[in-house]
């Protein structure tokens, strides 16, 4: 029970009449890294965004099925999406730091959520966790937009960590970064796994293989295969998974 961070049951997401995610049931275990892979347009990002109700922001989106978090269905009308998003954080594909200082970026989440402790300490702790502290500790008041792409993305991770989520969702977090910055993000993910559950969408199979414990392969909105990463990449059970992984389509 407490081994599961999140569980979906028959989750479907519609954009207007199009069914982008088709009735997916799976479980995300706690403190592990789960990767979603699949060709473009297979619905993996949409599926991910259903976990923290970010699809609510799209007027034509409609969700059926359940997403269970700590025993509650997140799509129950009584649940406030604002509270959900504090506990299930998100890092986006293109780093999107706020046009404010580095300090204010990390402090933003703390301020709007009514953080009760000492702001500066928490900001430092978050930047440490994101492996960014040493690089920015002398220039916390500088504008965040002056950082490099990789640093900006780590800042976005620090910002998400500051509000103490249980789960961190990452939507292709390294696809806009160069290989070295990508490597650092992957190292960071490995470190973060000890305290957080991480779900990462990636179109880079090698990245999924390097970084995740479990991998789910999605195709045209359906879950084709979901299993341990080692197993899936050396001996997948489904033919279609095999074909995608060996590059025979996709």
């Amino acid at each position: 029970m407490s081994d599961h961070a999140l569980e979906t049951r028959g989750l479907s997401v519609f954009y207007g009449d199009t069914e982008a995610v088709r009735s997916i049931t799976l479980t995300i275990p706690s403190r592990q890294v789960v990767a979603f892979i699949g060709p473009s347009g297979c619905g993996k990002s949409t599926f991910l965004r259903a976990f923290n109700r970010m699809n609510d922001l799209i007027p034509s989106a409609r969700v059926t099925g359940e997403v269970l978090f700590r025993g509650l269905n997140l799509y129950d009308p009584a649940i406030d999406p604002v509270e959900v998003r504090r506990r299930i954080g998100m890092v986006f594909q293109k780093p999107n730091p706020f046009p404010k200082s580095i300090f204010d970026n990390v402090a933003f989440g703390l301020r709007i959520n009514g953080f009760q402790g000492k702001l500066a300490d928490k900001v430092e702790e978050s930047l440490q966790q994101a492996a960014l502290w040493d690089e920015v500790k002398d220039r916390l008041n500088d504008n965040a937009l002056g950082l490099s792409g990789g640093q900006q993305q780590r800042l976005c991770i620090a910002r998400a960590l500051a509000v103490e989520p249980e789960i961190i969702l990452m939507d292709e977090p390294a696809s806009a970064l160069d290989p070295i910055a990508t490597g650092r993000i992957e190292d960071l993910i490995r470190e973060l796994r000890e305290k957080y559950t991480i779900v990462i969408v990636t179109h880079n199979m090698q990245q999924a293989a390097r970084v995740s414990d479990l991998t789910a392969f999605l195709y045209v909105g359906e879950l084709i295969e979901y299993g341990e990463t080692e197993q899936l990449f050396t001996n997948p059970r489904q033919e279609r998974t095999e074909q995608y992984i060996t590059g025979r389509f996709g």
């Binding site: 923290n52 970010m54 922001l57 007027p59 604002v82 509270e83 959900v84 998003r85 504090r86 506990r87 954080g89 998100m90 890092v91 986006f92 293109k94 999107n96 730091p97 706020f98 046009p99 933003f108 989440g109 709007i112 959520n113 504008n143 937009l145 976005c156 910002r159 998400a160 509000v163």
Partner: protein, 289 residues
């Protein structure tokens, strides 16, 4: 090879390009030349009437003793009050339309009508102001009535400019805020508005600089053409520079024409100052981002 299948006609094409470039240049020059002629004409007529006394004296039947103090102060009061009324209303409406309003037929109707209102002749606003503010609300012929009327006039432009500025805020910023558990209002206040503010302010100041030259609606609501005192409260009677200019220009004596020209120069200076402020403000805020 493929050389035979193309007829580049390079000389002709370049020549056409040059002709077009000079035509555009001529169009630009035309506007600038007209503006220069206006400025030279006005300045030459009015320069000898410009003095500190001119700025600090009240109007008089004697040209040598006439000044625009009441007009300047009236204009400043008017602009201040108009800004104070139209800015919150305009920005508030823009925020509602961009962030809160559902994308249904009613919102679209609202949007279209706001755009229409921007094109309504100002005299119509004057009549409206007379009926609603002067008579119905009982503001009489006061600065407040004038400011309310002018606010109606500039409001559509403020709303549209603010909407554009808000719309220009990238979606990624909003998503970032939401992702951290911000409510809609928190996101708007802390992320959208700061980024949109330069655009909003620029739009507001530019629309005010249109309002500064409005004469007809103010005459409608009863701005006086000859007053020898400055406004003391929003309820005071008043006059503004354009009206004073109109008044002097319509007198037969040449001296008054000179006074009108001088007043025009002052008006243009104020206008330039406002536009410069708008640009400076925008640049400063943009640098902070």
């Amino acid at each position: 090879m493929s050389a035979e299948r193309f007829n580049p006609r390079l000389v002709a094409r370049r020549r056409n390009g040059t002709i077009f470039k000079w035509a555009c240049f001529a169009a630009t020059i035309f506007g600038i030349v007209m503006l220069a002629i206006l400025l030279v004409d006005v300045t030459s007529d009015g320069l000898r009437w410009l003095s500190i006394d001119f700025l600090t004296r009240y109007p008089s039947r004697i040209p040598a003793r006439a000044g625009i103090k009441s007009a300047i102060l009236g204009t400043l009061w008017m602009m201040g009050l108009t800004a104070a009324i139209s800015f919150p209303l305009g920005v508030g409406a823009a925020i509602y339309l961009e962030e809160y309003a559902p994308g249904n037929w009613f919102t679209r109707l609202l949007q279209t009508n706001i755009a229409n209102l921007a094109g309504v002749p100002s005299i119509v606003y004057g009549i409206l102001g007379l009926a609603v503010f002067v008579r119905f609300f009982g503001f009489q012929r006061s600065v407040l009535a004038g400011a309310a009327t002018l606010s109606l006039l500039v409001l559509p432009v403020v709303i549209i400019a603010s909407q554009e500025a808000i719309r220009a805020v990238p979606r990624s910023l909003r998503e970032g805020a939401y992702g951290l558990g911000a409510t809609r209002w928190q996101m708007i206040r802390h992320q959208v508005l700061p980024v949109a503010m330069p655009g909003i302010l620029t739009g507001t100041i530019l629309s005010l600089s249109r309002a500064i030259g409005e004469t007809a609606p103010l005459i409608m609501i009863g701005a006086l053409t000859f007053i020898a005192f400055a406004p003391t409260s929003p309820m005071s009677p008043f006059t503004v520079l354009p009206i004073q200019i109109f008044n002097w220009a319509s007198r037969p004596q040449a001296d008054f024409h000179g006074l009108a020209a001088a007043a025009i120069v002052v008006l243009l200076v104020i206008l330039l100052a406002m536009n410069a402020t708008a640009i400076l403000l925008r640049n400063k805020l943009r640098k902070q981002l």
